[in-house]
Amino acid sequence: MKELNRREFIKNTTVATASVATVASGISLTTFAADPKESDPVTNEKRWGMLIDANKLSEVDIDDMVNACQEEQGWGGEVHSTGDQKSGWIKKVKVRDTATQRVSNLALMCQHCEEPPCVDVCPTNASMKREDGIVLVDKHRCIGCRYCMMACPYDARSFVHEDLTDQKEHMPRGKGTVESCTMCVHKVDKGEQPACAQAVSSDAVIFGDLLDPTSNIHQTLKNVQSTQIRADLNLNTGVRYSGI
């Protein structure tokens, strides 16, 4: 048997130790990176957001987004509601610059704020923000007081004024409760995109995880100048706009 001298002994042990460390770190890495199961609660490791590019988004695109939202969530078919009573989860908003007369079209919906005023004012805790940043109405608790509609700076919420039937299976809606964009939470939980983002074929609407450095939305927000509507309110919205 060959005698090991001191130098060779150290070299061999270092290689052995290094390989063990690699294996160990590999194991721990796979444990952390395991895909979250359906049965796991959502965490704040993700924050869902959307980037809407007003320059790329045509009026037709916005109509498509509104239609896709109605189709997916089943709103807009209310027969007894008139004018402002009608639901509007996503709206087409025209903004005109008074100096240049430049008109931009915006798709405006719940901005899924990090500090949502609707959640602050809700007396029953029905208005809520999920850990992953999606703002929802828990209709089991909603008493229809509409404080949240008053508090929302984006006029993003609607109140159901009439009895409804044939709701979508994934989207219960009923008289006397407030509703708004859910960022298609039922699809997002399945790993899909919201209906409005899917309805636009160009990359005018990007949906993704704002916190994930590899996601398209994170990368784009890093490189492109974007803004939050009413950024002065410091709500840190999840929906961002560029080109306005």
Binding site: E38, P41, V42, R130, E131, H140, G176, D189, K190
Partner: protein, 134 residues
Amino acid sequence: MSRLLIVLLSAMLSITAAHADHHIPNLGEKANEFKDDGKKAHKREGMSHAASLIMQRKMHPELLSHKRDKTLRQGVRGGYTQLQKCVDCHTSVDKNGEHIPVNAPDQFCSTCHEKVGVSLDCFSCHRTTPAEDM
């Protein structure tokens, strides 16, 4: 005096017994098929089938409201307890092949709820028939 009391009590008891007839709810189309196939619905681990059914009957509001909070507020999806699964199995079909709302009179939910006088609020928001594509 005590004899009179016993007679009175037994008369009252017999009235109650006469009213406590076995009211079997309309199980619904799929649930009936399931039962006819001899399969055991709502069977829980470590419980007999009869005990599981009693548990299901007694505890369904608690089971549902526990799950609804987890689903809506924490995003925990899937699993056994889902209102839409109840609706899928326990709705009936009329002569024209159309689904009857599960909360309509004499349907699965309303049979018991009307009997015990407990209001049923689920379906002011939730869909009462299985989804179109089912």
